[in-house]
C-alpha cells in the first residue's frame, strides 16, 4: 500500500516536472511550478518527511510562483512603457 502511494507520488512528480520544463510561457510555468510544489510536498509526506513537505509547500507552491509572476509583470510593464513612449 505504502509502496503504491510512493510510486504514484513519484510518477506525479515526474509528470509535473516534465510539464514545467516543456511549458515555455513564464506565467503558465509559474502555475505549473505551484502544482509541482504541491505534488513534491505530497511525495515528501508519503516518504515520512513532513517537515520538508511543509517547507516545500510554503516555498515551492506559494513563494516561488509569486516571485516569478511579479517579475513577469514588471518585465511586461516595462516593455509596454517602452512601446507606448515611442
Amino acid at each position: 500500500m505504502a509502496d503504491a502511494l510512493i510510486a504514484v507520488a513519484l510518477l506525479l512528480v515526474a509528470v509535473s516536472a516534465t510539464v514545467a520544463v516543456v511549458t515555455r510561457d513564464p506565467v503558465r510555468q509559474a502555475l505549473v511550478l505551484a502544482v509541482l510544489g504541491i505534488v513534491l510536498a505530497v511525495l515528501f509526506t508519503v516518504l515520512q518527511a513532513p517537515d520538508v513537505g511543509l517547507s516545500q509547500l510554503a516555498v515551492g507552491s506559494a513563494l516561488t510562483p509569486l516571485l516569478l509572476l511579479l517579475t513577469v509583470r514588471k518585465v511586461r510593464r516595462r516593455a509596454q512603457d517602452r512601446d507606448g513612449g515611442r
Binding site: A2, D3, P50, D51, G53, L54, S55, L57, A58, V59, A62, L63, L66, L67, L70, T71, R73, K74, R77, R78, D81, G85
Partner: protein, 246 residues
Amino acid sequence: MSPRLRLWLVCAAGSGLAALLVAACLDLPGFGGDRHPYGDRAVDASLARRTANTVASVNFDQRAFDTLGEMSILFAAVLGCVVLLRQTRDEHRARPEPAHVDRPVRRYTLLVLPVALLTGLYVIAHGQLSPGGGFQGGVVAATSLHLLYVGADYRALERVRPIGVYEVGDALSASAYVVTGCAGVLAGTAFLANTLLPYGTFNTLSSGGTVPLLNAAIGMEVACAVVVLLARFLDQAVEIEEVRSL
C-alpha cells in the same frame, strides 16, 4: 580556454561526480528500512534533551551552527535583493490605482487571511513539538499577509505592512540567534550548545532548552525576510516606473 578543452573539463568533472554519487548511493542503507545509524542517534539525542520533534532538535540543537549558516544565507540574499531592487535615479514612484476586486474573491481572502496567519504562527510556536518550525511557519505567516494584495489592493497591504519595522525585525531576530549562541559561551560551555536552560517536561511548549528560543528567532527572521523580499518585488512590479526620456 578553448571550447574543446572546456568540454573535456566538463565531461571529466561530470563523470567524476557521477562516479562518487553512485559509490555513495551503493553504501546507503536500504530504501524504507526502519533502522538507520544516524537516525537512531539523532532520535536518542533529541529524546535526551526532551525535544519531541527530532527534526527541530537536529536543526536547533545538534546542528544549530548549520542553521546559523542557512539563516545568514537568507539574510544576505534578502539584503542583496533590497540593494538591487531599490529605486534608482531614473525611476519614479506612481501611486497604483485602487483595483477592482470581485466580491467572492474579496470575501474568500478576508476569510482565509486570519486562518492562514494563525496557522503560520501555530506552526512556528509548535516547531519543537510537531512537524514544522520557524522556517515553514515564517513563510506561511509572511505570505498570508499578502492575501490582502489579492483580496483588497496594494494600498491596503502597505497600510498593514510598515516595511521599516520588518527590516528592523529581520536584523533583530538574526542577531537574537547569535546572541542566544553567545550566551552558551558566556555560561561556560560552547557556542550554540543547548546547556543553558532546563530541558523542561517532554512534549510541552517550553521543553527542549534553547530549541524553542532559536526556533522563534528563525520564525521571526524568515517571516520578516519574506515580507521585505516580497515588498521589494511588489514595489518594482506595481509602483516603480522608469522615467521616460524625452
